[in-house]
Amino acid sequence: MYEADRKLVARMLAGEKRAFDEFFNTSAQRLTAFATRRSGLDAASLEDVVQNALIKAIRRLASYRGEAALFTWLSEICRHELADVRRKAARQPVHVSLFEPGTTEVAVTQLLAPEHLEPVAELNTEQRRAAVMRVMGSLPEHYAVALEAKYGDGLAVQDIARLLGLTIVATQSLLARAREAFREQWRESAPGAAHGGLAL
């Protein structure tokens, strides 16, 4: 049981503003990172996805029983939200995008890119990023969440432990197993060039 999370939810349901702030401050940016890593959405769409996911979570707050970590529960809602966005995108009758029309122009007028943004370097970086995300997607969810928290969000082990409702030792062990699983998947899924030439 995730008692701390369950208590936080109970305080929110009772209308305690401080509990809401704690919930929002610990969840919003992490959920943004979660959605970013699982989609190619632009900033405005990500904002909408995160907002919708949090709103749905708030509406369903009373159904949270503390059987999973609150963030795991939230990320499941966010995952459905992303799936909805993809489904909607696939079946829209007429699409009208209101996203910044100026963004392409800016890219075109950037004549001198820094070296690390040269096309070949960009391609390698993109390939590698895509490969990392593919491998992350193939890992068990708790491995992926732990690796994202540690290396993506920069959380300390004790914070990850609190987040996942584990002891520090169990969290260290989980991270070690997650890294090992990642390494194996990385080696198996596509050696060499397909990963931007990086062997682990």
């Binding site: 900033a43 769409s45 699409h95 995008s97 990392v132 082990v157």
Partner: protein, 341 residues
Amino acid sequence: MSDASQPTIPGGAADAPLEDLLVSHLATQPLSPEALERVRGAVAQVWAATSAPVGTAESERSLWHWGRWGALATAAGLVAATIGFFALKPVGEQARVGTVARVSDGGIDIDAGFWRHHTLAVGEALRVGDTLKARGPALVVLSAGGTLRVAGGSRIAIDGASHLALEDGRLYVDKPPGLAEPEPLQIATRVGLVEHLGTEFEIVSDNQVVRIRVREGRVRFSWAAGVIIASAGTELLTTSAGQVTQQPVPTFGREWQWAAALAPNFAVEGRSLDDYLQWVSRELGRPLDYKNAAAREGAQRTILHGSTRSQATLDALADVLSSTSLTYELVGGAIRVHSDR
């Protein structure tokens, strides 16, 4: 990424390339502070509407800390008695009337009794018994539905769940049609009582006059000498001597711009163009007029994606329609939508 404060993670140096890879490819761009505040505001509104209006929130507004004892023992008795007297009515028990959704230029100061002074941030609640002073323009989402837009410098007392007193300043009330409310919102002014009958209206009150402008629906105004029901497009002007004059007023244009600037965000994503046009029509105070059936059908089956945030309503309308096969023109007071480009 290694954490010097942490015990060593098994794997050691062999993990370094892997850790570098994960750090460089799992890092993401956070939401900008502005975006984060927008999300916070929207989520807080829903939370405010769904959570119990009570509780331990009392502690948020508590104004004193019992930090030191001992040497202050003599004074403590007196202080305790004073505090006890003023704090017997806990803030947390007061009903939540609304939630701050947007503030600028300094926010909203709350005065909720002798010891209770507080500056409200986005997402915080307004409660019965509070007196608020808006330092800058602010948008409040009412728990009973609708919004309150408050001009900077306004002072409003919240006397009940549906009873406000505009002591000074300017207020815009938007209660969308079809809203089920236990009792209508009433706003007391120096001269009389304004009661909404399903509408959008503005009240200005200062030392000289009280002015009420009705933009949509009707309001009832009761004062010492009588009662009048004013409908959309009407301005009532009262003087402190108790005289009331009535005259027509446009429901759109420059005079309403301050309220338009405080319009809540319209979540465009996944909504039909028709929904969006209806919203724009209310926000601008201009009736929506489809020139023909094709225009209406086009608007109904066009689904929007993206965002119009941080754009003025009319600019956003132009941008949205420029991406579709529809055009618009302002004819008289109306927004006329055409399908024939």
